[in-house]
Symmetry: C2
Subunit: 346 residues, 2 copies
């Protein structure tokens, strides 16, 4: 056994650590620990899910298979907002309130850019000091990965494990890079857009498609001198939402004000979440939406794999640039080019 | 040769018709006629494109191949609006103005539901009497077909043929069934949403995602007692658009009022189209967007074909319902189910 050379390290502790690290993982035992609510086991299992080693992946899938049948469905809340909007403070305030109401709260994140930017959201747990210290909370930063598909799969599986461990309220946070809001929307029951109050121009930052996904738009930092601007923003958003058709959930999206820092408006948001859950469970949308989401991820995984096989095909790789050029110079139509590619694929 | 039995029919004319019908189509000759601007030849070629007979399809592709290299790029304008909003009257007013300005105008439609509803849009050419009678206009109803993919392909090819025939302004109309607006948006340079003025509640009918696609929202029937409501609607839409990020085209979408029937506001809309065309041609968006669209249709065609092969596979067909059930009852994850399906596919 190799021992650390640095003499400042406690040799006994280090050897114990190394021994534990080498001990093979027993998926059945780890699953049992997760189902018993052990968050250290939960953490280890999520690490396996996030691992790129195929042995770890195999173990992770075994754990997942053992946990899935015993998984109780949590209420999953997606939260998006640009950096600086106060997501961590907001989640801490809302999460602590939920814990007071008897909930067990997990916080996960989808941030496909975290490996590039080196600034993983939730990476700094000190931003959620109270939640981090609470036995009824579990916080996990975004898994590393540059492809959204991979990050989404890992997060979906982490959700299942959190549910297996008894967490009944799960927040999934995203800063909205690329298509990550769509991914989070497709894995949550409730989608919340966090915004800042501010001058008219600051409102012009909403990504296309986000307003329509939102079940609630919460304007944060609505305190002190910001209060008037926040109320104005609320009116603007109410008008904008008013233009859209009713949602499939038959839920009328809410616009709310809060100050996560001063903890004002948080209770109203919590009530709204409960109201939405009751509303969609009563009208059947909660369950049908979950089934649609399952179908969505099944189909998305299939399509991604098929596209992957196709675009990695040598003939396709060789022909594609030439054909794109031929389309753009008007030599063939996009459909003819596609047929040409498909003809030579298997 | 069979001759008609009905004695009221002119025998000579009937025989000539039958003879012509049986005459094989020469793709080279038809292409030359199209390129010379012959709308009868154009019409025949589009009929071939729409045909499901494989011999016709083959000829159609030959004609297309012969025409594509000589195709001048028209300005393509997508127009969407619910039935009753006055699309035909609007297109007639705008089209006649464009013809006065020296343009040649083609009107096509994407309506995947037309075979089901039996009520093809543009089917009744009498709604556009003046355009129908004008030598510089060409009107063609939506091709039949229940799958949007097929209708989209046919329409894209019809657009190319119209461009080959010298039409330099092409309207593509849709009532917005299913995903048809997205298809039309992906085959046009400018996307126009036609709305009706009315009480606040009437505004609540906009499909999600449409506002963000619009380069202009035109409120029609803004005349007489509707004027006040129309102005109010204009303010509401301006506020809503204000919430979004600037578009990739760097074009600020316009909200305009018009009365297609009284022909007020039409000139302003025409000026807006010209302004947009100049703006996007100057900043390079016009060309880059066309290239993105070509890529989009190539990829969409590939994905559709791959999905088609996959979901028509016997093993997949057999496994899919069982696996969906297994996901919904929590036995496997969506990703595991997808892997299972993919494993057994080729």
């Amino acid at each position: 056994m190799k021992t650390p050379k640095n003499k400042h390290i406690d040799l006994t502790a280090a050897q114990k650590l190394i021994k534990n690290r080498k001990r093979p993982i027993d998926p059945q035992m780890l699953s049992a620990e997760i189902l018993a609510g052990n968050t250290i086991a939960l953490s280890r299992a999520i690490t396996l899910i996030e691992s790129t080693t195929s042995a770890h992946q195999k173990t992770a899938q075994e754990i997942l298979a053992a946990c899935l049948p015993h998984t109780k469905k949590a209420f999953r809340v997606g939260i998006t907002g640009v950096p600086g909007v106060g997501k961590s403070t907001f989640i801490e305030a809302l999460g602590m309130l939920a814990i007071e109401q008897g909930k067990k709260v997990a916080v996960l994140a989808v941030d496909p850019s975290s490996t590039i930017s080196q600034g993983s959201i939730l990476g700094d747990k000190t931003r959620m000091e109270r939640l981090t210290a609470d036995a009824n909370a579990f916080i996990r930063p975004s898994p590393a990965g540059d492809a959204l598909g991979g990050v989404a799969r890992k997060t979906r599986e982490a959700i299942s494990l959190c549910e297996a461990a008894g967490f009944d309220l799960i927040f999934i946070e995203t800063v909205g890079v690329g298509q990550s809001e769509i991914a989070v929307h497709q894995m949550t029951d409730f989608f919340l857009l966090l915004k800042l109050a501010g001058a008219g121009d600051e409102l012009q930052g909403i990504k296309r498609g986000i307003i329509e996904m939102a079940d609630a738009i919460v304007i944060n930092k609505a305190d002190g001198i910001n209060t008037i601007a926040a109320k104005h923003a609320k009116t603007e958003f109410s008008r904008a939402l008013h233009l859209y058709r009713p949602k499939a959930s038959a839920w009328q999206p809410k616009i709310m004000l809060c100050s996560a820092l001063k903890e004002t408006g948080i209770d109203e948001i919590w009530q709204t979440l409960l109201e939405f859950e009751a509303h969609t469970k009563a009208n059947g949308f909660f369950e049908s939406n979950r089934q649609d989401q399952n179908k969505y991820w099944l189909q998305a995984t299939v399509v991604n794999a098929l596209k992957d096989r196709f675009y990695k095909d040598e003939t396709v790789k060789q022909q594609l640039p030439k054909l794109l050029d031929a389309i753009n110079t008007g030599k063939v139509s996009a459909f003819q080019a596609a047929q040409e590619l498909l003809k030579n694929f298997k």
